[in-house]
Structures are given as structure tokens and as C-alpha cells.
């Protein structure tokens, strides 16, 4: 129980208008919550409030009533006794007459109206009393917007929930609502008001009811809002958009047929205005009205409607008909919103009442159109008016035909015959008979206008059948007259289209375009009821396919035909046309796939592949066929190459692999079973390579090797583990007997490695690279046979400079021991062992002993690899190979988070020192490789060790490495070093910095910025490191645009500006200059006092950049100069 004095206090606070709104809110909440948890009863509250509710002080009474109303508003779900509700309704209803306290009364009524069913609701009688009081006492338009809105909402509630009680009020209610809405301008109120009209129309639907007598008055009140003029772009609170209002108005207008005599003339008048928005609104609203008012009422307006619609079509259609590749599946001219709405209105009218079509067919000047069509054979040659005529009328006819079967029949009966006549398909003989031209005598009268009209009509009927297909499974349109007409003429029509395709001259694509579009339309009639028989369909396919395979080169015709075939293919796949799919398969797919075998057609091979892959990607079955075809083609090409030495075939092979990688691999997820096919392809690649013993001539197909590696890697990457295993097994069996196997037994000693000067044969090289790509892409769960000797093999190849081998090795150390079982079970090689082999080089001593009989000299306790890297022995070439290889191994270790990477990093750093443990500096080229090794370590690689190839990636590995290596590099740079080694250390640091996420840099800007700046100045000395310089500069610009970085930039401003000024004239890379100038602009964010002193220096430097040889730099320089010049009040001081 709330203490009485506390309640009094709350009441006092709320009623006192001098208190702050938050205090009032708090007291309201307190009262509401104590009512809600039953510590206060409503009776008590009212007893306590008595004085406030009845006082003669207007302000206090208004606040008191509002308090009671607000409290009730927050108790909508709390059950109250019916008696209490009744009393409260009575009270608030009475108070509606008290205009000084109206707000509270409205809120209270609304709160009671909105009560939940279970909690006690207002009875019909009370509601009626409330409505009466409302109608008698409240003058809505005299109130403030918020009160008006409440009033409208109250009326809305009454109409919605107590429609029966309201209907007895009759004319009184209609009149009151008329009065309430009249002159309303607030959008929030209007939305509710429009809904009110809709509700009113539902309440009094009868044509002799109260609404009927007042319909004209009511329409006058709200019809004047049309078309809605609303300029608020964003209304902050309510967020009402123009579309919502327009929709509400449209619903109100179309709410009852009683408005028809007033609405339709108004809408037609607005439709003829020049304002686009009015046109769109009228069309939308007319469509709603047509649906709601019914055919009978609309009928008398058909004349006006049709002429308005026709005008709209003429004014909204352009005269441009596109003959481009993109428009083959679209109407070919632009459609704006007005046009779209007009189309849908026309369709709705025709669909609703076929007699509307009478107006259409009677009115449009079909005769003149046919005259126009037969006068100009070229579309280009027509004057604009005729073009418009043809386009609009074909549009109107096709839209009406699309509306319903009946309309389609009528349209076809009216003009299809004439059209055929014009096109020369039928001719009238002297005795009046209609003779269908035989196959042999299709006259080649090609009229673009006629073809266009014909295609539009066919497309409309096609869309009609497709529409049926979606709603009913077995459409029977064979009996329909349009269908029989099309059927009758289908043979000559196809001939006409085909002849249009072939008759084309070079200068006009229109013939070809229309021909192909016609064939495409004819080919897309669906289902068993299709007017185009199977043999005709096949003829279409044959025609299109023959265009593709003819030796015409990549012309517009070729592209159009290909696109048409692809469209037909995807149409068949979408509608599951089994019959047609069989035809498509046998005519198009088989034909094209067989042509994928090179040498079978005169077309350039890449084009052939493009066509085949495009066509086949329309259905899963075709893809299967395609992969098999490609496999066969690959095998035959490759064997052709090594048997006959045909270089063309090896080129074809690389095209083929490229096609496979680009077109098919990305779609593995979509097509079931593609993965298996591709794996099969990979295995037969291996088979083929295995069977070609020796290449008959010098192999210089670098492109082929590249393509093969990519394809193989990607296939393995997407394959499942089992499939990967089978590919690996296959590959291993190919590697085993080759000379590569011999390399496995070469001991890892200097002497032995020195002897490795002899290069691998090209075949071995190919096999090695392919095998490496398989290993690179394999997932950790895949099993690698004989891993130890493979590691040895790769290690030896690494020393010979085969980068793929190094990458494979990196990939192996990355994934070893991380399979599903926790370790490679079949490989018999653990991570430890692998590292031992690589680093300790006491490689499988038992094998070595068995092969050589005696242990050879192994370089002390230091690892062989590190000694080679540091140049203790071996040639320079050897040294650089070892360093790069080490970097890839290091990358593998780094990504899995293995600690051994630290040793590698230290070794690489050692290579960079001017005086390392061997006491002398390395050769500059070796140092360069060591510095670039950091780029390999840190950057993301496309070719290996990424997610696609299942790399084991430890989170934040870059950050960890960064925090370890940067202090080391920094301290080395601080210490005295020779200029060369200093530069190389900077290069290494730049690689590390520019590859780590920016946030890490931002956290350490204070420390890093000086290093970055020094690096920039060291690297800018010559052009060798320009790319590194650029990436480092990008890091700097990243720090300058961030608030954290700006703090430290403030301290280093003078060095930064000096450095950037120097870079604005860096001659070797344009983007460096550009970025440097942009950075200078970014520096203007620093405090004025800090940058002002550098103004002259910067402006002088920028003046030079104005004369930069590159346009983009000049542009940036102008912006920069203006920005810097404007930091003072005076102008540029030159």
C-alpha cells in the first residue's frame, strides 16, 4: 500500500506545471506501477484525485484528467471490473465537452478503446455514447495537430472495433468525418484520415446507405489532395514518406464504387497533366479503382480511359530500339515508371473485361501501321513518328495479348494474318484463297517493323503460356485459336527468321538481331501444348548452332546466337522440359562438345571453348558432358603434342585448362557431382603425363605448365579428402619411376648439392611442379605416402631453385600432424621428424648408409641449410635459392604458430647484418633475397598456404611475429651498420610493417613512425625498392588519417613533412608522388600552430609538383596547394 501522503506528493508533482517534465514523468510512472502491482486500487486513486478532477481551475483540472488518462494508458493489459470501465468511459465521454481539458479526455478515451479483450473492454452502448459526444462536442479542425491526431485515431478505433454500433449513427457520422477531415494538412493526421475514409466505405457499402447521399461531399473533401504534393524529405518523428501517403489516398479513393462518378474523371484529368508524378499516381490509382469498382461501373469510362492510356503510351515511349546484345532478353527500349504503370493498367483492364479490348482494336490505326511497316524495310530508315507508331502499337498489342487467353485470341485473329501477309508468308491468290508458301519460296521481304511486331506478339503469347505453367500444371492451349495460328505458320516463320539471320549485310545488325530474337522466342514456347513442334524446335537449335560453328569469327551474330542458345538452355532447365532437353543435348551440347576436340572446326579455339562452356553451364547434365569432353580433348591434344610435336595443341591445352579453371571450378558448389568429374579429370591428367614417356621436342610451353599447375591445385583444393588421397596416390605413382626418384637418394651435403648443376628434364620439371601443386593444395587430413623421402626430394629440388618445391615443403610443414587423427597415420612422418630432416640434415641415415655404404661428411652441428644461407659454402646462386626456400618453409611454420620460425627469422636477420657470425657481409644479391624473404613470410600468397588450399592458420600469427621481429630489426638499425645492410634491414622492416593489420601499427605509432620515416628516406634513394617504398608510404598515410596516429604525428611533424616533401619529387613511381601529396593534405588535420611554420616549405615543394609529368599528380598538387594556401587569411604568396 502506497502511503497516502506519498501519493498526494506524486499527484501534486504531476499537476504542478512548474515542475520539470522528467519529474512529472517519474511521478506518473510511480503511480502507474503501484496500480499495476495492486498496492493501490483505482478507486483509491480516483478518490484521492477528486479535487484535481473537479476543480474549477482549468489548468489543474486539465492536468488531473490527463494524469488519469495517462495512467489508464499504461494499464491497457490490467484487468479492470466492467463497472469501473463503464464509469471511466462515462467520465471521459462527458469530458469531451470540456474543451479546456480535451487532451486528457482524448487520451483517456483512446486508452480505454485500446484495452485488451481479457482486461475488460468498452461496451457497444458506451462506445456509441462516446462517438455521439465526440461528434457533437469536438471540432477537430480547431485543435492543435497532436490533438487532431488523437481525435482521428479515436474515430479510427471506433470505426474499426465498434462498426455495428457506429453504423446506427448513419449520416451524422459521415457528416462529422467530412467536417473533421476538411482542410487537414498535417501528414501524420492525413494518413489516419485516409484510413478513416476507407473504414467508412466498408461500414456503409450499400448504394442507398448514408454514404451514398454524401459521397460527393466526402469526395470533395479528400479528392483535392490528389495528386499528392509532399515535399518533406524526411519527417523526423513520424518518418512518413510520400509513397505511404499516396498509397493511403489511392486506397481511400478506390475504397467504394460510390466514389466512381467523381474519382474517374478526376484521375483522367490528372493523367493528362504534364507532371510525371501526377501521371504515375493516376495510373496506379486507376488500377486500384478498376479492381475495386467492378466492370459495370468502369464500363462507361472506357472511351476516356483508352484515349488517356493511348496518349500516355505515346508520350512515354522513346523512338530508340536497341539492337544490342543485352536487349535480346528485354523489350529493347527504355521503360520509365509511367510506362510501366500504363502497361500494368492496360493489362488489368483487358484482363478484367474483354470488351475493353474492343476499344483498343477498333481505335489503333492498324492499317496505317501495316502501311508503315511495308513502306520501310529498315528500322533506321523510318521517320521518328513512324518508329514511335510501330513501337507503341506493337507494345499495346503485346500487352493486351498477354492479359488473357481470350484477348490473345482476339489480337491474333485481328492482325496475325495481316502480319504474315506483310512478311510474305501468305499470299492472296486471284481466287481469294490463302496459300501458305512452301518451303522453297519464302520471299525475302524483311521488314524490321513487321519482324519486331511479330516477335512482340509471339513473346506475349509465350509469356501467357508460361504464366499458366506457373499456376496450373497442365495448360491446354492447343485448342485456342492463337495457338493453332502460330502452329500453322511456325514453319515459315522459322524460315523467315533464319533467312533474316543469314541475309544480313555487314553494316546492319538489325536483321541478325531480329532474326535471332525471333528464333529465340519461337524456341521458348513451353510444354506439350507448344505450337512449335519438336522437329521445328530442333531446326531452330540447328540454325543457331550452325552460326556458332561456322567460321565467321567473333561477330555480333556469333555473340547473339550464343546468347540465344544460353537463354534456351536455361529456359529448358528452369521449366524441366525433358523432351526439349533431349533435343538440346543431342543437337547443341553434343555438337559443341565434340568440337572442343581441337582441329574439328575452323573457329579459333578459345572462342570454341567459350561457346561450349557457356552453353553447357546451363544445366548440370551438360556440365558433365562438358567435363568429359574436355578430358578427352585434353588427352588427345597432349598426345598430339608429344607424338607429333604439334605446338598448337599444347596452346590449345592451356586454353582448355584456363576454361576449366575460370568457368567450371567456381561453380562446384552449385552443381552436384562436378567435384567427382573434376577429380577424374585430374587423374586422367596424371595418366596422360605418365604415358608420355619423353617429349619429342623441346618443351617451351611455360604457359601450359602454369595453367596445369593452377588447374591441378584448384581441383585438389576443392576435392574431398578421399579424392585428394586418390590423386596424391596417382601422382606419387607417376613420380616414383621418374628420374626424380633418384634425387631422393642424393645426400644433403655440400659436395652432393654442388653436383646438382645438371638441370631436370622438361618432363621431370613438369611432373615436379604438378606434384608440388598437389601437395600444396592437399588438406591436412589427406595422407601423403612416403613423406620422408618426399621431403627429401623437395629439399633437393629447393636447392636447385624450384620455387614450387619450396612452397610444397612449406605447405607440408604447415599441415603435418594436423590431420583429423591428430597425425599422419600413413605417412609415418611426424612434424618433429620432418623438421629434423630439413634443419638437421642428418637425413634418414640408414637410407644413406644403405645407398652409399659409408657416412659422408656432414657439416658439424650447424644445419646445412643455415650454412648455405650464410654463404659458408656453395655458390651465390645456391645461396639465394636456399634463402628463398627457407622463407617458404618459415611461412609454413609461422602460419601454424610453430616456434621454430623464430630460428629461421633470426637466420634471415643474420644474413642482413653487415658483420654476421661468419665475420663478413653477404653478397648484395643474397642480402636482397633475405630481405625479400620477410615479404614471403608476412604477405598473403595466392599460390599456396591460404584458406583455399587448407592451410593451418593460427589466429593473429602476423601480430605475434610482428611483435617479436620488429624490436630485433629496430635495434639492429639503431646500431651502426654499413649503408647496404642498413638499407636491407629497412626493406625487411618495411615488408613486416606493411603486411601487418593497420590496427597493430596504430597501437604502436609513437615507436614506429620515426622508423617508418627513416625507412622512407632510405628506400627513396634509388628505384629498386619502389614498390616496397609505396607500401610503406601507404602505412604512413594510414597512421596520418587516424586520431591515434595524429598525436604522434604532431611530435614528428617536422620530419614527416621533410620526408613527404622529398617524396613529392620521387621520380620512379607516380603513385608515390600522388600519395605523398595526399598525405600532405592529411597533415592539415594537425593543430594550426604545429603546421603553420612549414607552410612556405610545403607550398614551394607543391609548386614544383604542379609541373609534374603526370596528370593525376598535378591534380592532387592543385588541391594540396589550395588547402595549404588557405590556412592563412592571405592568398598564395607568389
Amino acid at each position: 500500500m502506497v502511503e497516502t501522503n506519498q501519493l498526494t506528493q506524486y499527484l501534486g508533482t504531476f499537476v504542478d506545471i512548474t515542475r520539470s517534465p522528467t519529474e512529472q514523468d517519474d511521478s506518473l510512472k510511480a503511480i502507474a506501477s503501484s496500480l499495476d502491482n495492486d498496492s493501490l486500487s483505482i478507486n483509491q486513486l480516483i478518490r484521492e484525485m477528486e479535487m484535481y478532477l473537479t476543480t474549477t481551475d482549468n489548468v489543474v483540472r486539465a492536468r488531473g484528467i490527463l494524469l488519469l488518462a495517462e495512467v489508464l494508458d499504461s494499464l491497457k493489459a490490467k484487468p479492470l471490473a466492467n463497472a469501473i470501465v463503464h464509469t471511466l468511459v462515462g467520465f471521459f465521454t462527458e469530458k469531451l465537452a470540456d474543451w479546456r481539458a480535451l487532451r486528457g479526455a482524448l487520451v483517456g478515451c483512446l486508452a480505454l478503446m485500446k484495452r485488451k479483450d481479457v482486461a475488460g473492454v468498452v461496451t457497444d452502448i458506451d462506445a456509441q455514447a462516446m462517438a455521439k459526444s465526440m461528434v457533437q462536442n469536438v471540432q477537430l479542425q480547431a485543435l492543435a495537430p497532436l490533438d487532431r491526431k488523437l481525435g482521428f485515431e479515436l474515430l479510427e478505433c471506433l470505426l474499426q472495433q465498434y462498426s455495428e454500433a457506429m453504423s446506427t449513427m448513419g449520416n451524422l457520422l459521415v457528416y462529422a468525418i467530412c467536417e473533421a477531415i476538411d482542410g487537414e494538412k498535417d501528414p501524420q493526421c492525413l494518413i489516419v484520415a485516409f484510413h478513416l475514409i476507407e473504414l467508412l466505405a466498408q461500414l456503409f457499402p450499400s448504394p442507398s446507405g448514408p454514404l451514398a447521399s454524401d459521397a460527393s461531399d466526402l469526395f470533395e473533401v479528400f479528392g483535392c489532395y490528389f495528386p499528392l504534393h509532399f515535399t518533406h524529405t524526411k519527417d523526423d518523428e513520424a518518418n512518413i514518406r510520400r509513397e505511404d501517403l499516396a498509397r493511403g489516398l489511392s486506397l481511400a479513393i478506390s475504397s467504394t464504387p460510390l466514389f466512381e462518378p467523381y474519382a474517374i474523371p478526376l484521375l483522367l484529368e490528372k493523367l493528362s497533366s504534364t507532371l510525371p508524378i501526377a501521371k504515375v499516381d493516376s495510373l496506379k490509382c486507376l488500377k486500384d479503382c478498376a479492381m475495386k469498382y467492378g466492370v459495370d461501373r468502369m464500363k462507361k469510362h472506357y472511351g476516356g480511359l483508352w484515349s488517356a492510356l493511348k496518349d500516355t503510351f505515346y508520350s512515354s515511349t522513346g523512338t530508340h530500339l536497341s539492337f544490342s546484345l543485352e536487349s535480346i532478353t528485354s523489350p529493347g527500349f527504355e521503360m520509365n515508371e509511367i510506362h510501366n504503370e500504363a502497361v500494368s493498367l492496360l493489362q488489368r483492364l483487358v484482363k478484367q473485361d474483354i470488351s475493353f479490348l474492343g476499344f483498343v482494336v477498333e481505335d489503333i490505326r492498324i492499317n496505317t501501321v501495316f502501311d508503315t511497316i511495308s513502306r520501310y524495310s529498315q528500322f533506321r530508315g523510318m521517320p521518328d513518328t513512324s518508329k514511335l507508331e510501330v513501337l507503341v502499337i506493337s507494345q499495346i498489342l503485346s500487352v493486351s495479348a498477354k492479359a488473357s487467353v481470350q484477348s490473345c485470341n482476339i489480337i491474333f485473329q485481328t492482325c496475325f494474318f495481316r502480319l504474315m501477309n506483310t512478311l510474305g508468308i501468305v499470299e492472296k491468290t486471284s481466287n481469294g484463297d490463302v496459300v501458305q508458301n512452301g518451303n522453297s519460296t519464302v520471299s525475302t521481304r524483311l521488314y524490321h517493323g513487321g519482324l519486331h511486331l511479330c516477335i512482340e506478339l509471339l513473346a506475349a503469347s509465350k509469356d501467357l503460356t508460361l504464366g499458366f505453367e506457373e499456376c496450373s500444371p497442365t495448360p491446354e492451349c492447343v485448342q485456342e485459336s492463337w495457338c493453332s495460328m502460330v502452329k500453322r505458320f511456325s514453319v515459315p516463320l522459322i524460315q523467315v527468321f533464319a533467312s533474316a539471320v543469314y541475309s544480313s549485310s555487314d553494316d546492319s545488325v538489325a536483321d541478325v538481331y531480329l532474326g535471332v530474337k525471333g528464333l529465340l522466342t519461337m524456341g521458348m514456347f513451353c510444354g506439350g501444348s507448344s505450337p512449335v513442334s519438336r522437329s521445328e524446335f530442333e531446326k531452330i537449335l540447328v540454325t543457331l548452332t550452325s552460326i556458332i560453328t561456322s567460321k565467321s569469327g567473333k561477330t555480333m551474330m556469333w555473340e547473339l546466337a550464343l546468347k540465344a542458345l544460353v537463354c534456351i538452355g536455361s529456359f529448358i532447365d528452369r521449366y524441366h522440359e525433358t523432351d526439349k532437353a533431349m533435343s538440346y543435348m543431342s543437337i547443341v551440347v553434343d555438337n559443341l562438345v565434340s568440337l572442343a576436340c581441337p582441329g574439328h572446326c575452323g573457329l579459333p579455339y578459345p572462342m570454341m571453348l567459350e561457346a561450349t562452356s557457356e552453353v553447357c553451364s546451363t544445366g548440370p547434365k551438360y556440365v558433365e558432358k562438358l567435363v568429359l569432353g574436355l578430358e578427352e580433348a585434353f588427352c588427345s591434344s597432349l598426345s598430339d603434342f608429344y607424338v607429333n610435336g604439334n605446338f598448337k595443341s599444347i596452346n590449345n591445352c592451356s586454353h582448355l585448362l584456363g576454361c576449366l579453371t575460370n568457368k567450371l571450378l567456381p561453380r562446384v558448389g552449385e552443381i552436384d557431382g562436378l567435384e567427382k568429374l573434376l577429380v577424374h579429370f585430374a587423374i586422367s591428367m596424371w595418366n596422360q603425363i605418365e604415358s608420355c614417356g619423353v617429349f619429342s621436342c623441346d618443351f617451351n610451353g611455360g604457359e601450359f605448365v602454369e595453367a596445369a599447375i593452377t588447374t591441378m591445385g584448384q581441383i585438389v583444393g576443392i576435392a574431398l579428402v578421399d579424392s585428394q588421397n586418390s590423386i596424391i596416390q596417382k601422382a606419387y605413382r607417376v613420380v616414383l619411376p621418374s628420374t626424380l626418384a633418384a634425387m631422393k637418394s642424393i645426400p644433403l651435403t655440400f659436395v652432393a648439392l654442388e653436383d646438382l648443376q645438371r638441370d631436370l628434364s622438361t618432363r621431370d620439371e613438369l611432373i615436379l611442379s604438378l606434384f608440388a601443386s598437389v601437395i600444396i593444395a592437399a588438406s591436412p587430413a589427406a595422407s601423403i605416402p612416403d613423406a620422408k623421402s618426399l621431403i627429401h626430394l623437395f629439399l633437393v629440388s629447393l636447392h636447385k631453385g624450384y620455387i614450387p618445391a619450396a612452397q610444397a615443403l612449406g605447405s607440408m610443414v604447415n599441415k603435418l600432424g594436423r590431420g583429423t587423427g591428430g597425425a599422419y597415420i600413413t605417412s609415418g612422418c611426424s612434424m618433429e621428424e620432418a623438421c629434423d630432416i630439413i634443419f638437421q640434415a642428418d637425413f634418414a641415415s640408414e637410407e644413406k648408409i644403405s645407398s652409399n655404404g659409408s657416412g659422408k661428411f656432414i657439416c658439424g652441428s650447424e644445419t646445412t641449410l643455415s650454412k648455405i644461407c650464410l654463404g659458408f659454402c656453395g655458390s651465390l646462386e645456391h645461396q639465394t635459392h636456399a634463402i628463398t626456400g627457407l622463407a617458404w618453409i618459415g611461412k609454413g611454420l609461422l602460419m601454424r604458430g610453430d616456434e621454430r620460425v623464430n630460428e629461421i627469422a633470426l637466420l634471415l636477420v643474420e644474413c642482413l647484418k653487415s658483420t654476421n657470425c661468419s665475420g663478413h657481409a653477404l653478397h648484395p644479391s643474397a642480402m636482397k633475397h633475405a630481405a625479400d624473404a620477410f615479404s614471403i613470410l608476412m604477405s598473403d600468397s595466392e599460390v599456396c598456404l591460404n584458406r583455399k588450399f587448407h592451410a593451418v592458420i593460427r589466429p593473429l600469427y602476423k601480430q605475434r611475429f610482428f611483435s617479436k621481429i620488429v624490436p630485433i630489426l629496430e635495434s639492429l638499425i639503431m646500431n651502426f651498420q654499413t649503408p647496404l645492410s642498413r638499407k636491407m634491414l629497412h626493406v625487411a622492416l618495411a615488408h613486416v610493417i606493411s603486411n601487418v593489420p593497420v590496427t597493430v601499427i596504430l597501437d604502436n605509432t609513437k615507436k614506429l613512425q620515426p622508423m617508418i620515416l627513416e625507412g622512407l628516406s632510405v628506400l627513396s634513394i634509388d628505384s629498386v625498392e619502389k614498390e616496397t617504398l609505396f607500401s610503406l608510404l601507404l602505412v604512413l598515410s594510414g597512421t596520418l588519417t587516424d586520431s591515434k596516429g595524429q598525436q604522434s604525428a604532431e611530435d614528428n611533424a617536422h620530419i614527416i613533412i621533410e620526408c613527404l616533401v622529398k617524396l613529392t619529387s620521387y621520380p620512379n613511381l607516380m603513385v608515390v608522388r600522388e600519395t605523398a601529396i595526399q598525405c600532405l593534405v592529411a597533415l592539415l588535420e594537425l593543430p594550426h600552430r604545429r603546421i603553420y611554420p612549414f607552410r612556405i616549405q610545403v607550398l614551394q615543394a607543391i609548386a614544383k609538383s604542379l609541373d609534374d609529368p603526370k596528370r593525376r599528380v598535378r591534380g592532387e598538387a592543385i588541391k594540396c596547394r589550395q588547402a595549404w594556401a588557405s590556412i592563412t587569411s592571405t592568398n598564395i604568396p607568389f
Binding site: R1114, I1118, Q1122, F1134
Partner: protein
């Protein structure tokens, strides 16, 4: 001195699309060409009207010629009316804007196109006399007017 506008009702043309240079040769220098200069000056606002010089057809692509070897730039502009007293202001704007955007070694000649102005010779003389230009730019009122015209597009 007549009050009001000199050309109260100028013909306004549509703004043309900005030139987009698609293929930039990475390895070749792109020298200053007439289109560059035109890009710089086309957006200068007319001193009288809220339109650019391009919109009023005072300037077009053909009005700029560049001699790259001698570092000379010649701009011929066409005032909207024969007796336009704003011609000198327009010329000053052109000179001021180009001064700001071009390196110092270019010599800029600004002329009214032959026959387009009643007092052609004296306008040309005035615009290409550097003492007189400098003096004009020191006049605070003129300077402000010129600055407004130049920077109207950028603010």
C-alpha cells in the same frame, strides 16, 4: 553607367559531362594539353550570373591552345555581348585561376575572340599587361569579386 545587369538574359547551355580519361599510359608522361587547361577554367563563375563560363558559352574546348615546346598557353574567350564590361573581369579570373594552377614557366595569353567585343584591342592590352593585372589584383574589391568567381565551384 547603367544600373542593373549588362546582359540581363543570357543564353544558358547545358553543362557538359566531365572528361574521363580512361587509359592512362603508366610509362609515358602526359603533358599539359588544352583539355587540361579547359578543365581548370570551365567552372569559373560568370561575374554577373550564377552560371559557369562553360554554360554561357564564353569558353569551349576549342578556345584553348597549348604550345608545349614554348610553354605558351593561349585562351580566347567570347563575351556574351559586344559591349560587355565584364570581359576584363572574366579575363582576370582566367588569369588568376591559371596562375594558381600552373607552374611558373608557362606564359598565358588571354584574348577575347576576334570580333566578339566592341573594344577588342584595349581589352586585350589590358589583360596581357602584367603591371595592370597586378594593379587590378591589388584592388581589394576586384580581388574579392575574382576570388568569388574562381572558388564558386569548390566551396
Amino acid at each position: 553607367m547603367t544600373l542593373g545587369l549588362i546582359n540581363a538574359n543570357p543564353v544558358v547551355q547545358a553543362k557538359k559531362e566531365r572528361l574521363v580519361r580512361t587509359q592512362e599510359d603508366q610509362y609515358r608522361d602526359d603533358g599539359v594539353d588544352p583539355l587540361d587547361i579547359y578543365e581548370y577554367v570551365r567552372d569559373i563563375r560568370d561575374p554577373e550570373h550564377p552560371y559557369t563560363l562553360e554554360q554561357l558559352s564564353v569558353l569551349s574546348e576549342e578556345s584553348v591552345t597549348v604550345d608545349d615546346k614554348l610553354d605558351r598557353i593561349l585562351i580566347k574567350f567570347t563575351p556574351t555581348v559586344q559591349h560587355c564590361s565584364m570581359a576584363t573581369i572574366i579575363g582576370l579570373c582566367l588569369r588568376a585561376k591559371l596562375n594558381e594552377r600552373l607552374p611558373l614557366h608557362y606564359k598565358v595569353d588571354i584574348l577575347v575572340s576576334p570580333g566578339s567585343h566592341a573594344d577588342e584591342d584595349s581589352v586585350n592590352k589590358q589583360l596581357n599587361d602584367k603591371e595592370r593585372v597586378a594593379a587590378a589584383m591589388e584592388n581589394p574589391n576586384l580581388r574579392q569579386l575574382v576570388d568569388e568567381c574562381i572558388f564558386s565551384d569548390e566551396i
